[in-house]
Each structure stands twice: as structure tokens, then as C-alpha cells.
Amino acid sequence: MSVTRINVGPIHPSTHGVIRLVVDVDGDTIVNVEPHAGFLHRGVEKLAETRMYMQIPPYTEKLDYVAPMSYDEAYVAAVEAAMGIEVNEKAKYVRTVLLELQRIASHLLGLGTLCNDIGQMFTVFMWTFKDRDIVLDLLQEATGSRMFYVNMRLGGMHAELPPDFAEHAYNTMNYIEKRVSQYETYVEKNTAFMERMRGIGVLSSEDAKALGVAGPVLRASGVNYDARKHSPYYMYDKFHFNPKVMLTGDNFARYKVRMLEMKESVRIVKAALKAMPEGSCLGMPVKLRSPNPVNRTVSVSRELPRGECMMYLVADPQKPYRLSIRSPNMVNLAAIGHIAKGARFADLFGILGTLDIIMGCVDR
């Protein structure tokens, strides 16, 4: 049979942003997938060179618009490392809590869009979206904003947590834990869902390492690596948390890793809220002039919801000389040609859904 070339995107209902996939199909079987990125290129890295240090977080946040706080934190952590600023004790806990809340919100959306992609139009999506909103309510309480927070300051946070935050968060976490189990039973008992998950889009652990994929995609292929565990930051090493690893490397593993991670995040949030010390978590107020950096080059590794992100910062006084971002979404997207080879055309979107990419981060 002859090979047909199909152009999926840049405008397509399930491309998670503006991405173009050139798909070669032999009948219904995919021969080759070539992702074309760059439609959302804003030049964030270059832009960062023209801004003062604390003017940059609003830009880095917009890289991953589903989990903005994670990117905010990754960048601020890089600046803190360059300036040799120690984060105060309470802020470490607060950041751990907020980052895990952000992870839960992001994974919930990931599950919803995945179900959309494999053809359950909008029921699961709207349910997870509602639960995500409840998590965002918490983040709004803590930061005053629902989407773009800009709440990290050098050495701490922009404000204290509200007094009843811990109680709200505890209740919400109980609710989310219950809902995640419900979602698991809802979708995993559905044979149509499992047919499109099990054994589809397999990525072996050798290939995963060779392709350099990150985050849940890497752990789903049986590679036990999580930046929170292997280069711990903040309070992660205190909570005896284990990276969630699945061995099969298929769509189901990638989906399941995210579900397990949500439950683990719930546990971490609860533990961190319990162990939260007294005191202030305020950081340095944003001034025009920031302290001069003590380290010229730093690189910080953070486990974002979508994988490990590296912030490489060459620091000049007041401004970055160079900011380079290793985006987890970029490497995950680049692996799609390898993963989708041999799959059915309809499964391409299931695979894209389990990779859970955010184009703002891929194109930067």
C-alpha cells in the first residue's frame, strides 16, 4: 500500500496548542511522525537577557501555562543559587505545598485532555476541570491569583499563607484523593479506554534513556529517576516519598504514573502542612536593584509536573547574561516519532495525550 502523508495541525482539535505533526500513514498504520514546533516561539530566553532579575518570572511562568508556578519557582531558584540566597525555613515548606498543589492541578487537566483525545468528548475533561478549579481556589487563597501567580520572591514568598489555609488544604486534599480514586475506577473499568491504553505506544527504558525523555514519561518506561528524589530540594527528602515507576512504558503506564503521582502529591501536601514550622515565609521585596550574584554560572534542576527542567543561568550583575531552559516538553514531544511508529492513526492522539505536552514550553 502506498504511504499517505497527512498534515495534522497546526489547527486541529486535539493538538494541545499549536503544533504541526506531519504523519506518514500506510493504511491505518503510522510509518513516521515528524513534529514541527515553533508556532508559539516568543524568544523568552533572549527576552530574559534584557530584563532585571525579578522582572523575568512573569515570562517564565507563561512557558507552561498549565503549571505556571513550577516554572516561576524553577527560575527563582536559579537566581537564588546565583546570588547565594538561602530560602527561609517556612518558605521551603510553603513552596513544597504550593508546588505539589500545582502538580495535582496540572495532572488533573492532563487526565481530562487525555480522555478528550481518545474520544470521550468532554465529560471526564469537565469533571477534572472542576476538581482542578478547587485546587486553584487553594492557590488563589495563597497567592491571590488563579493562573499566573508571580508569588516567589528571593529567599521566600510574596506573602504569608492565610490563617485557615492549612485547614482548607487538608479538606481539599481529602476530596481530591477520593476523586482521583473515582477517576481511576471510572476509566480503568472501561474496556474501550483500556484497549486504547494497554500496549499502545510502548517506549522501552533503553529508548527512553537514549531519547532523554523526562518526568512521568521517563518513569513510565521503568526508569527510576525523579529530580525531587535524586537531587532533593526543599522538603522532599523529609517526606520519604518514592518516585512512581511503571515498567510497561505504554500509554497506560504514562497515564497511571500521573494518577499515582497525584496521590503521592496529596500525601506530601498533607505531611508538609502538618510539619509546617512557625514563623514568617516572606522573601526579599522586589526592588529595582537586586544583590549582586556570587556565582557566575548556576544550573538548577527541578521536577516540574511534566518532567525535569534545567535552568541554566549565567549571571551578570542585575541582569542575566544568558538564561537557558531545558524544557521537559520539548524532549517528550521529540520522542513522539519513535513512540508512535507502528501505532494506528487513531492512537496517535492517545499517545500525544499521554505525553501531555504544553506547546508554550516546547517553543519557548
Binding site: T4, I6, N7, H12, P13, S14, D28, C115, N116, D117, I118, G119, Q120, M121, F122, T123, F125, M126, W127, K130, N190, A192, F193, E195, R196, R344, F345, A346, D347, L348, F349
Partner: protein, 336 residues
């Protein structure tokens, strides 16, 4: 016919007495008008209800602005679609592209007009009425195929291939179930099928009922078998290049087919218009069709779409054997 229909005693003038040609003519015109009104109202209400019910299943409100509870939202959409420009893509086969959708709709409405709606409201009383109905229904996927290929879009092309796949998987079980219904009713006359159902065939042949329901879902492109239209994969499948007025036709077609499928299931398996005599027979038929349509909508709210190869496997590995078993049981128990 007029008297049955309106359930009142009209004082019919002599020139309208039944053998006169004028009577025949008026009866035919009235029949077409009344059935068109029934199915348009049914389709319209289902269109609105589908939006509302799906919205409820998804923690949304659905349409709220146009009219009370958004009841006129579909009308507003229709006006919007009709006021837009229709674009026929350059690479499309213009004639086929322009003809296949209206033809699909015309055929669906033709089948709708062939169905009996109550003892007084029916077009024909042919002995093989059901066979004609299903012969025409079998043409619909072929027209979908031409509609898909004529647009010249690759997504529509894939959709057209899937259309054939569905045809392969669901026509045979449908025909087998029809055969068993024919066995039960001693013929293919739709009226005698209804009058023969002292106990609903859905209770006598539960397997056949389920197979037929699934086959109708596939036949009329309802989820989880909406792989011809698969939004998340094929953009809109065979409708990808279809623009404004044609798209309105396509939406109309959707509900015409939904009406057709629901009424067919009601007639073949749920006793058609039979019901307590306090209300006219037409009411019972529409009520049954309505309940089936709501069930179809709820399936859409919960089911994951099936993959094309899986649909074929499902059709041949489950539906055809089940339909055969149903046929054999029907023969042994009720006929032999």
C-alpha cells in the same frame, strides 16, 4: 385516515369521501406535512435536550441565553449557519460534494416517511415494508463514503474508509436481527410487526434487541461509534470541509437519523404505538422513541470512542455470532 389521526369525528363532505382522488391527494399531502412536523419537532427538541443533558452530565449549564432555558439556541445556530457563505473547496468534486449531503438527508427523510406512526398514520402497508426501509438505510453509509471522498480532504478520506468499515461490521448483524423479527411476526410488514407484539419483542429477544440497538448506534454515527466524525482525530471526518448551509444540513441529518433510529427500535422491539388507550397511539410511539433517544444521548455522555479495527473485530466476533444465536433461538422457541 384523517379521522384516526385527529381522533375526532370530522364531518367529511361527500367529495372528500375515501375513494375520491382528491381525498387521496389531500391525505398524502397531509401525511407528509404531519410526519415532517413530528420529526422536525422531535429533532429540534432532541437537539436542545442533547445539549442540556450532556451539559448536566458535565457540570455545565448548556445553552441558557436564547429563549427560556436556551430553547431557541439551535434556531439561532441555524440562522447563523444559513447566513454564512458556503465554500466548496477547490480540490473537491463539486457535483458529488454538493449532491451527497442533500441526498443523504433526502433518503433519511424518505425512510422516515415510509415508517408507520399509528394505525391511522402510515404511508404504505406493503408486506415487505421493513425490507425496503433497511435497503434504503444500507445506502446511507455509501453516500457518506462518497461525501467523504468527494471533498478531497485527507481527513474526510480516512473517514470515508471508516464508513465502509462500519458498513462491513454492522449491516450483517442488523439484517440477521431483522430476519429474526420477521420470523416472529411472520413477515416483514411493519404494521403486523407492531400488532403482533402482545409482549414486546425486546423482552422475547433480549439479545436481538441489544445487538440491534448497538448496530443502530453504529449505523447512525452515534458515540461510541462516531469514528466517521471522530472530532479529536479527524477534525470532523467527512464533514471537515463542509461549510455553513451544508453543515446545517448535516446537523439536521444527525437528528433525522436519530429520530429514524429511535422510531425503528420502538416499532421493531418496543411495541410501536401500542399502549394504554387513554392517549392516542401516536403519543406512545413518540414517547418510546423519545426515551430511546435520551438513552442514546446518555451513552454519548459516558462512552469512549472505539477504534476502527476494534469496531470491525467487535462486529464480527460479538455481534454477528450473537445475532445468529438470536436467530436460532427465535426459530427454535417461537417458530419451530
Amino acid at each position: 385516515m384523517l379521522q384516526d389521526l385527529l381522533s375526532v369525528n370530522l364531518s367529511i363532505p361527500f367529495w372528500l369521501s375515501s375513494p375520491s382522488p382528491l381525498y387521496e391527494f389531500i391525505a398524502i399531502v397531509l401525511y407528509v406535512i404531519i410526519v415532517s412536523i413530528i420529526f422536525s419537532v422531535f429533532g429540534y427538541v432532541m437537539g436542545w435536550l442533547e445539549r442540556k443533558l450532556i451539559a448536566r452530565a458535565q457540570y455545565r449549564h448548556g445553552p441558557t441565553y436564547v429563549g427560556m432555558w436556551g430553547i431557541f439556541q439551535n434556531m439561532a445556530d441555524l440562522i447563523k449557519l444559513l447566513s454564512k457563505r458556503d465554500v466548496i473547496p477547490q480540490r473537491a468534486d463539486r457535483v458529488l460534494f454538493a449532491v451527497s449531503l442533500p441526498l443523504l438527508l433526502a433518503l433519511s427523510i424518505f425512510v422516515i416517511l415510509l415508517l408507520p406512526y399509528s394505525p391511522g398514520l402510515q404511508a404504505t402497508s406493503l408486506g415487505f415494508g421493513m425490507l425496503i426501509v433497511f435497503t434504503i438505510i444500507a445506502f446511507l453509509p455509501l453516500l457518506l463514503f462518497t461525501a467523504g471522498f468527494s471533498s478531497g480532504n485527507k481527513f474526510s478520506g480516512i473517514s470515508a474508509q471508516r464508513s465502509v468499515l462500519i458498513l462491513l461490521s454492522y449491516e450483517i448483524p442488523t439484517l440477521l436481527v431483522i430476519a429474526s423479527v420477521g420470523l416472529m411476526a411472520n413477515g416483514y410488514n411493519l404494521q403486523s410487526i407492531v400488532s403482533g407484539q402482545h409482549i414486546y419483542y425486546a423482552l422475547l429477544m433480549p439479545i436481538g434487541f441489544i445487538v440491534f440497538f448497538i448496530a443502530m448506534l453504529a449505523e447512525f454515527e452515534r458515540p461510541p461509534f462516531d469514528l466517521r466524525e471522530a472530532d479529536s482525530e479527524l477534525i470532523a471526518g467527512w464533514l471537515t470541509d463542509v461549510s455553513a448551509p451544508y453543515y446545517a444540513l448535516a446537523l439536521f441529518l444527525d437528528y433525522a437519523r436519530m429520530f429514524l433510529g429511535s422510531v425503528l427500535i420502538a416499532i421493531l422491539f418496543l411495541g410501536g404505538w401500542s399502549g394504554p388507550a387513554i392517549l392516542p397511539p401516536l403519543f406512545w410511539l413518540i414517547l418510546k422513541a423519545f426515551i430511546i433517544a435520551i438513552f442514546v444521548i446518555m451513552v454519548r455522555a459516558t462512552a469512549f470512542r472505539m477504534r476502527a479495527d476494534r469496531v470491525l473485530r467487535f462486529g464480527w466476533a460479538w455481534l454477528i455470532p450473537l445475532a445468529l444465536i438470536n436467530l436460532v433461538i427465535t426459530y427454535l422457541v417461537f417458530v419451530g
